[in-house]
Structures are given as C-alpha cells and as structure tokens.
Amino acid sequence: MILKFLLKRILASLPTLFIVSVFVFLLLRMVPGDPAALVVGDVANSAELARVRAEMGLDKPLPAQYLLWLADVLRGDFGYSFMNREAVLPALMERFQVTVQVIALAFLLSAAVAIPAGVFAAWRQNRRADIAIVTSATLLLSVPSFWMGILLILLFGVKLGWLPTLGFVPFQQSPTEWLLHIIMPTAALVFVETAILTRLMRASTIEVLGQEYITYARSKGLPESIVLRRHTLKNAITPTLTMLGLILGSLLSGTVVIETIFGLPGLGRFLIDAIYARDYPVIQGTLLFIVLIYVAINIVIDLLYPLLDPRVRQA
C-alpha cells in the first residue's frame, strides 16, 4: 500500500526531474564559447581540443549528448569538476553534511520559538500582543541574514572575542569546538527563519480558529489551553508542514552567503566557488542535487501527512 503510493509519487515527480535535468544540461551549452576550451584552458592546440571534445562527447548531436550525460547522472556520477577532476557527487555529499547540520539546527531553534509565538499571535488576533508579534516578525524578516552574520562577527568575534569567526570543526573531532564554530552561522539564519515560520503558523492558526469545531469545543466549556493545544495546534501545524520544502529552500538560500562569510565548507560555498571558477559540472551537479532533495522531502511529507491528519487517511 505504502509502496504503491511511494511509486506513484515518484512517477509523478518524473516530469519535474526531466525538465530540471534538461535545464541543467542546457546550462552548460548556454555558456558562450566552447566547453571543451574551458577544460583545456589557454594552452590548448587544436588537436588537444578535438581530443577533449570527443572525450566529452561534444562532437555528437545535442539530444545524444543529453542522454549520455543523463546516463552518467543515473550511474551515480554527476560528472567531474573542471578544476581538480574530482567526482562531483562525493564532494557534494561531503559538503552537504556540513550544510545539513547548520540548517537542521537553525530549523529546530526557529520552530521552538515560532510555533508558540505564531499560535499566541493568532489567538490574540488584532490585539496589541498580535500586532507586536507580527511587527517584530516583519522586522526580523527584513534583517538580511548575511548582515546579521557580519554584525555577530563584529560583536562576538572582534569586540568580545568569545567566538571563532571562521572555519568548521567536525562534531566527532571536538563537540565543544563544533558548537563554537557553528553557533554564529546558525544564529544568523535563525532570525529570518523564525520570522517566516511565525507568520506561517499565525496564518494557519487563524484559519483553524475560525472553524466550527473550535466554536463547538469552546461552547462545551473546554478551557482555552486545551482548545489551543489539542484542537488548534495539531490542525494548524499540518499546513505549515507542507511548506517544509519552501522553508528548506529559504534556509538553503541563506546558507549560500552565510557559508561564504563564516568560511564553512558547505554546499552553498561549494556552489559559489564553482561559479567564481566557472566550474560548470559542479554548478550543474549542485543544482540537480538540491532539486533531488527538494523532491525527496516533498515525497516524505506526503507520506507523513496521513499519519498526522486522519482525514487524509480515509480519503
């Protein structure tokens, strides 16, 4: 049953993956000039260029090139970096581990603040507390995370000297050093993320509070705390959960510049370095990798949804 559902969802995401793969493939061909010339560099003679062109399959027609490239991708090999001839996928996985740690920590911290704040604001809709929460959320939403990162460096790194401003230490090596290095990049992301989540939570809670079953729960004399926790929170969280792909997207976007500022060897920094170096296989691989994660997360959410919402299970 679950297997059938899973298969159906994977099939349904095939058009997305196909279009993205074509786009990502064409990305390299849209670059003015010859990709082979980028690989061999300035010193190439024409014989060398022709050899690399044949090696990269550039002498074949475009659809054939696409299929060859796709076969490489499906074989679990995202191509090789122009810069150091390293395989792209293993490098991506290694970088992604760092990014995931920052993203997960930032998400957990912001959810811990945003869920109660959003529910409370909705409960006091249009009262002073709500306006205060919404206004502060809008203010936080407006603080660019990279500026926040620099301000944190200025305060805790330069002025106070409490925290290291650059680099990353793996958890296995030293948990305290890991925390010290990861705390500022995470904090820089948390503010914006809390704001986004609070606004989402508030909107979906307002929606739920307008339902008849809430009026019913109140009219049968249930205390507000039970109404909010048992009847409202559960129903308000599920729509926010479907936004997880969007939230992940905003976190990933944030890490691009945050990792550059804090010198974290993560996915975002990898992409930026690849763009500086015009390392197109890495750019292609990173984009494809991110889309695969996005699609996978949305499938997982669809699988989780019936567990959280019995109404979907029956349908």
């Binding site: 058009p15 997305t16 993956l17 196909f18 279009i19 993205v20 786009f23 990502v24 990305l27 849209m30 670059v31 249009n126 009262r127 306006i131 919404v134 206004t135 809008t138 203010l139 939403l141 407006s142 603080v143 660019p144 990279f146 500026w147 620099i150 301000l151 460096i153 200025l154 330069v158 792909g245 997207g249 905003s250 990933l252 976007s253 691009v256 510049v257 550059t260 500022i261 992409l271 930026i272 690849a274 763009i275 500086y276 015009r278 197109y280 750019i283 990173t286 984009l287 991110i290 889309v291 996005y294 699609v295």
Partner: protein, 277 residues
C-alpha cells in the same frame, strides 16, 4: 488620516509609507546629486569615521560613504523595479496562457513552473548568472527569470477561476476574440492579488541584488551598490564598522518598509479583514 482605508491607518503602516517615500527620494537624489563624487579617491581621507565633512564616514579609498549609499540606493531600486517588471510580464503572460487556454498549453507551462519552483530563487539566479555573467543586466535577467514561476503559478490559479465567471462566459458567447477577453476581463482582475505579490518580490529582489553584489556577482566595483559596499567594508570591520553598519541598516529599513506595505495591501484586499479595535 481619515481618508485612508482602514487597514492603512495603523501607525506602523503610515511609518512605512513615509519610509518608502524617503528612500525613493534618496534614490532619485542619488541619481542626480551626491555631496561628493562617489568614485573619486582621496588618500588623505581614508577610513574616517562619521564627521561634519563626511556624515557617514569614508571607506578605505577615502570615498564618501553617504554619496556611495545614495548612488547605491538608485541602483538597488532600479534593479528591483526592473526585476519585478520582468517577472510580472513573463509570469502574467505564461500564467494567463496556461489558465485560460488550459489543455496542452496548461500542462506544458504547469510542469515547467513546477520544475523551476523546485529550485530556490537565489540558487536559480546564481546558476543563471554563471551563464549570463555578472553586472546589472545579468542580475535583472537572472532574478526576473527566477521569480517568474511563482508569479505564473498565482496568475494561473486566478485565471482558472476567473474563466468560469459569468462575465467571461458572457463575453465568450458574444464571440469576442480571446485576446480581447484576456485584456478586458481577465488581466484587470488578476491585478489585485498581484500587487501583494509584487511588493513581496520587490523586497526579495532588493535583498537578492545586495546578496549577489556582496558575493561579487552583481553590480561590479567600483560602481557602488549596497551589497558591494558591505563586502568591501567587511575587510575593515574592526577599524571602520560604519562601513558595514550603515549599508546593512539601509537594506533592513527598505525591506521593513516594503514588507509592511505588502501587509497593508494584503489586509486592504482581504474581504475578511476587520479593523483593529
């Protein structure tokens, strides 16, 4: 204040209007006049703190920060406006075509929209810039294309429900050509929800432009942009913190005012809105 519709009367919203007006004024001013030449170097005036001569201080080349921020404001607002225009024109065209004609056109456009929505906007823009190349036009094209799928999706949804309305069906029975129905009856009704979306993407574009310029992929130095000034100032953060504080503060104030304006517009267009007691 009485003449304003209820949702706009909140003090924070009023504040945001004045904020946006002031920023726009500064941007226009920056295009024509600055206290100093934003590009001229001065060895004697390097890394000076805020003073009467240089209200916001100078950078490591002795360039006046206020002048550079004024010109940067013009760049930021120009790029954001152009980006939103590109996204709106492309998005409305694609979304209306998909929603109105349905069938094969809809299926093709919708799957393309879904596919591009799987890539976060700024990452898509980065990939496009890697191909188009940095610079002001590159940023506008990349961000404009990156935001198009979102606009197209919203427009498509609206048009799908609009084409079932009586006035559109009547127009079809009258035998009006498609382009006439689209132009007269569909596009004007899409406008309302689009203003909210446009303000949100204006803020997004402003932020993304500063991120791209900060990364050295947007407006190229020595031409001033808020993100670029931040990136250069970061190197002197210990000695000249004003170089990082002021540009960031300007980005934040701009985003805050635009976001508040978006909220006010949303409340205004929301038929369920009740004014705060």
């Amino acid at each position: 204040m009485r003449f304003l519709p209820a949702p706009f009367r909140r003090p924070v919203y009023l504040l945001s209007f004045f904020g946006i007006a002031a920023l726009l004024l500064a941007a226009v001013l920056g295009a024509f006049y600055t206290p100093y030449d934003p590009l001229s170097l001065s060895v004697d005036a390097r890394l000076q703190g805020p003073s009467w001569d240089h209200w916001l201080g100078t950078d490591h080349f002795g360039r006046d920060l206020l002048s550079r921020l004024l010109v940067g404001a013009a760049v930021s607002f120009r790029v954001s406006l152009a980006t939103v225009t590109v996204a709106l024109v492309l998005g409305v065209t694609l979304g209306t075509a998909a929603g109105y004609f349905r069938g094969l056109a809809d299926r093709i456009v919708s799957s393309i929209i879904d596919a591009f929505l799987a890539m976060p906007g700024i990452l898509l823009a980065l990939a496009l810039i890697a191909v188009i190349g940095p610079g002001e036009l590159g940023v506008i094209a990349a961000l404009g294309i990156a935001y198009t799928p979102n606009v197209a999706r919203v427009v498509r949804g609206n048009v799908l429900s609009l084409r079932e309305t009586n006035f559109v069906e009547t127009a079809q029975i009258f035998g009006h050509p498609h382009w006439y129905i689209l132009w007269r009856h569909i596009v004007p009704h899409v406008g309302g929800p689009l203003t909210v979306l446009a303000s949100a993407y204006f803020a997004q574009a402003l932020l993304s432009e500063s991120v791209l310029s900060f990364l050295g992929l947007g407006v190229p130095p020595p031409h001033p942009s808020w993100g670029g000034i931040l990136a250069e100032g970061r190197r002197f953060i210990a000695d000249a913190p004003w170089l990082t504080i002021y540009p960031g503060l300007l980005i934040m104030i701009s985003l805050f005012c635009i976001n508040l304006l978006g909220d006010a517009l949303r409340d205004y267009l929301d038929p369920r809105f009740e004014p705060a007691s």
